[in-house]
Assembly symmetry: C2
Homo-oligomer: 376 residues x 2
């Protein structure tokens, strides 16, 4: 097995879209790929088997959360992250950068790292590029991410520039600290929606010659158009023969437009977060299962969907489970939503394969713009 090998199986003639496959220590990932998020070692509301049945190839887990609880010693005592999660396919861990800057109370951002107060108990914790890499080495995911500074939107220019410089310096430390050949370390390009900064950051990161490149710092409030403008610009700057990963994205329309730009990997909490709240994704627009209009509705969430939820439960039954607060409601809609995203990726694959991707994408993007709420 040639870990890290990324083959492009087909390039779309009319866009940046491509079909590929990436070899990891826990098997092959077909791209473009959507990764459900298992923040604390569990894709919320679902068992790993239910996740696997949606067709998910890889799960993202959060280093920040696992570092705080149960802690990396405890994960090691239980084997590794795969064992703890009962997931024997690929796992990607982010570096914790995003959570440090979004979830915790920052005490001090230094040139080397960040001191912050845990969002759980206020305990003071220090994280830097070296530690974040060592922690990820010990957690044992197949793909690990460089520690970076993720900026909010909007962000003053000087802070944006500082964050880019820090992220570049930290990425070098991550590469030096990285100690496991069976894990792929990806770099993260920052720079907000400033295209010049993005270009600079991409160029510097590319010098590190890492096995994959991510676009970070998007889907933080800049909106679909700003995001896609940035992705359209940045994706082609990244090495063509390496996987490109758009972090934390997103809505179906975001994914389609980003695949068109040449992005290969995505992750997002949307399918499960929305699922828990009774919000179901369908190709005809969102459904809110708590609505009284579904009370006597015998149809499934989405006609033709092959998920466990749609094959067995009516909208009326699912609404009932939400109204009476049964866990089954959140579980069922999460299953449907994760399967919806996997079916979306299947359609993307098929249309790239058939050479019909751009027409299909145009049609879907127009439809989703019209039926609302399927874009950021």
């Amino acid at each position: 097995m040639d870990i890290g090998k990324f083959e492009i199986l087909k390039k779309d003639q009319n866009s940046g879209a491509r079909l590929g496959r990436l070899q990891t220590a826990h098997g092959e990932i077909k791209t473009p790929v959507f990764m459900p998020v298992g923040t604390r070692g569990s894709v919320k509301g679902m068992t790993p088997r239910q996740v696997e049945e949606t067709g998910a190839q890889i799960i993202l887990a959060n280093t920040y959360h696992m570092y705080l609880r149960p802690g990396v010693d405890k994960v090691e005592a239980l084997g590794d992250l795969h064992k703890l999660m009962a997931w024997n396919k690929p796992i990607l861990t982010d570096s914790g950068g995003y959570q440090v800057f979004s979830l915790s109370t920052l005490n001090r951002i230094g040139e080397d790292g960040v001191e912050f107060a845990s969002h759980i108990d206020g305990r003071k914790i220090y994280l830097d590029a070296k530690i974040a890499t060592e922690v990820q080495n010990r957690l044992g995911a197949d793909i690990i991410m460089c520690f970076d500074e993720c900026t909010p939107f909007p962000c003053p220019q000087d802070r944006l520039k500082k964050a880019v410089d820090r992220s570049i310096r930290w990425a070098k430390i991550c590469k030096e600290s990285h100690s496991r050949e069976d894990q792929l370390l990806f770099a993260i390009v920052q720079g907000g929606i400033d295209l010049e900064l993005r270009k600079y950051c991409a160029q510097e990161m590319i010098k590190l010659d890492l096995p994959g490149y991510a676009i970070g710092g998007l889907s933080v409030g800049e909106g679909h158009d700003n995001m896609i403008r940035t992705v359209d610009y940045v994706a082609p700057l990244l090495p063509e023969n390496k996987p490109r990963y758009l972090m934390g994205v997103g809505f179906p329309a975001d994914i389609i437009a980003s695949v068109r730009a040449g992005v290969d990997m995505f992750d997002c909490v949307l399918p499960t977060r929305n699922g828990r709240n009774g919000f179901a994704f369908t190709d005809d627009g969102p459904l809110r299962l708590r609505n009284a209009s579904h009370t006597e509705d015998t149809s499934p969430i989405e006609q033709g969907c092959d998920c466990y939820c749609c094959k067995n439960f009516s909208r009326g039954a699912i609404r009932h489970f939400f109204i009476v607060s049964e866990m089954l409601g959140p579980t069922l809609v999460s299953i449907h939503n994760v399967r919806f995203f996997q079916r979306l990726m299947d359609k993307i694959h098929k249309n790239i394969e058939n050479g019909t991707f751009v027409d299909w994408a145009d049609e879907k993007l127009a439809k989703y713009a019209e039926n609302g709420l399927l874009k950021n």
Copy 2:
């Protein structure tokens, strides 16, 4: 198919225990049987497929809860209870009597029925034998129960007597009101731990010649010894050629002792209620998964258990999911616990089959008495 046919396949030579099978409109039930409880149409924390995989043959649902929400009209609009629950095997509904007397604020107990305030919104609701039967006819379960008055423990003698008289009168009305041949209406014997009253109630109920007989009003605080003393006395009074059902019971020791007395059917919320709280049943005694002692424990909840939880997750991982409040924790321990109860029933079957039931039961009862908390 001969709905209601109950065959005794084997009688234990040294106790009242027997192996049987009961034919229902949704298939055969092998007895002794334990029914997981799906109060509001869902066995809490589990999908119906997960319930089926434990070996569960039949689920109990609560008429009282389904009557309040979503309401019987809504269940009918969605098909029936089987369709709503996505469960195509047998279902038993209780009559609502127990919940009316335990959950709601009673406004008036009349000779005909009960007026009570819904535990959800205080709405005034009236339920009597005729309505409870009609509602159960419309919900469509395979086994339905007579509307009865369930007394607390302890209970003044005059109230106990009144409750027995009402339950007998109401059972006659239930039989007259019952309108579906594909549903089996079971009578419920009341009388607290007063053996004379129990005998009187049993004799009157037997006159109705119904297809099954339940012992109600136990597991309400009287303790294991009082319960078993009552069951030992009442079970043999009930028709030998009909299924006997001990309602709301119980702990493994209660079940074993009651099978010995000749009981065929059980239901209890214990496996799922305790599971949600991180309390796991094992043959060696209870495990509390939240305990810090499990933090680095790589062993499964129960060595040798064949459930999805034990085959895939360590105690340490399950503890982590509880500590960080992931739904996966409650789901996993519920799956294990329901499977534990099904494995208990399998062992009961095998030991009756092999003629070793009494010795096995003695050994188990001694063991459970010692390792604690496995009895009521």
